[in-house]
Amino acid sequence: MRFAVVQFGGSNCDLDAAHVLRDVCGVDTDLRWYKDGLGKGYDAVIIPGGFSYGDYLRAGAIAARTPVMDEIVRHTKNGGLALGICNGAQIAAESGLVPGTFAINAYPKFLCRPTHLRVENSATPFTTLFREGEVIRLPIAHKEGRFMADPAVLAALDAEKRIVFRFSDAEGRVTEDANPNGSTGNITGVLGKGGNFLAMMPHPERASEEVLGSEDGKRIFLSMIRHIEEHG
């Protein structure tokens, strides 16, 4: 089994993701510079957080138009897993891998803090190690993370169980007070059409070791690993 972490100019969570995959989860992981493409086949691809292309134009807009993204689209069309974290989620939305967009926060400030998330669907390749409705703790670090989509798209996401995480309070209540950035319906984790691409604003790689205060993030990577083991 082999994971790839794609690096763009301005990615800055690439090494954290690779560290968690290699040293915490024990899975072989390659860092792939975007210009070199994906190369050989991978079981899973991570698009890490950061500020690709300095967030010029819109966060993720320019990275989304690079050839490596066409490879990632093909990888997911062939059933491969992929996870976009923070800037990776913004890139995914700009690429059409997930619907909607991550707009500037309702209060236009960079937010870096722990958040509670309610797991809305535990039957995805990314969440099998969680219970449905479980409240987990992961940090956010973004200025453009307000999820928005047309009402028809939101209804379809809901009907197809493609909403994976919502911001909640510690008791799992999805309230306005628990919504740090104004995301529609507190949504901060959505699946692509095939259910094998997850875009999420919170950072699981920053909450995968006890010393960092939460190991909830690790279970996302371990869920992916288990899914690959079971489904090849």
Partner: protein
């Protein structure tokens, strides 16, 4: 032929513009109360095209493929010369 094209990207009506709101507050603090304030992004582009219509069509494709995000943006293209 050479053309100068101006592309103007704005948020669709009803889409929250937190930056514009923050600017409006800052202006109010300076003693400039405003009833409405919105922001836009303008790109001035010089390009070659067969004719005016071709220049406009190219600029529209630029908007569709990169410059605008169809979920939140509206765009206008003006071919100037």
């Amino acid at each position: 032929m050479n053309f100068d094209v101006e592309v103007r990207i704005t948020l669709k009506p009803g889409i929250l513009d937190p930056e514009a709101r923050a600017i409006q507050h800052a202006l109010a603090d300076l003693g400039f109360p405003t009833k409405k304030l919105s922001s836009a992004r303008v790109f001035s582009i010089a390009l070659e095209a067969k004719d005016r219509a071709g220049a406009e069509e190219t600029a529209r494709q630029m908007c569709e493929r990169l410059l605008a995000n169809p979920v939140i943006h509206h765009y206008e293209v003006e071919v100037r010369a």
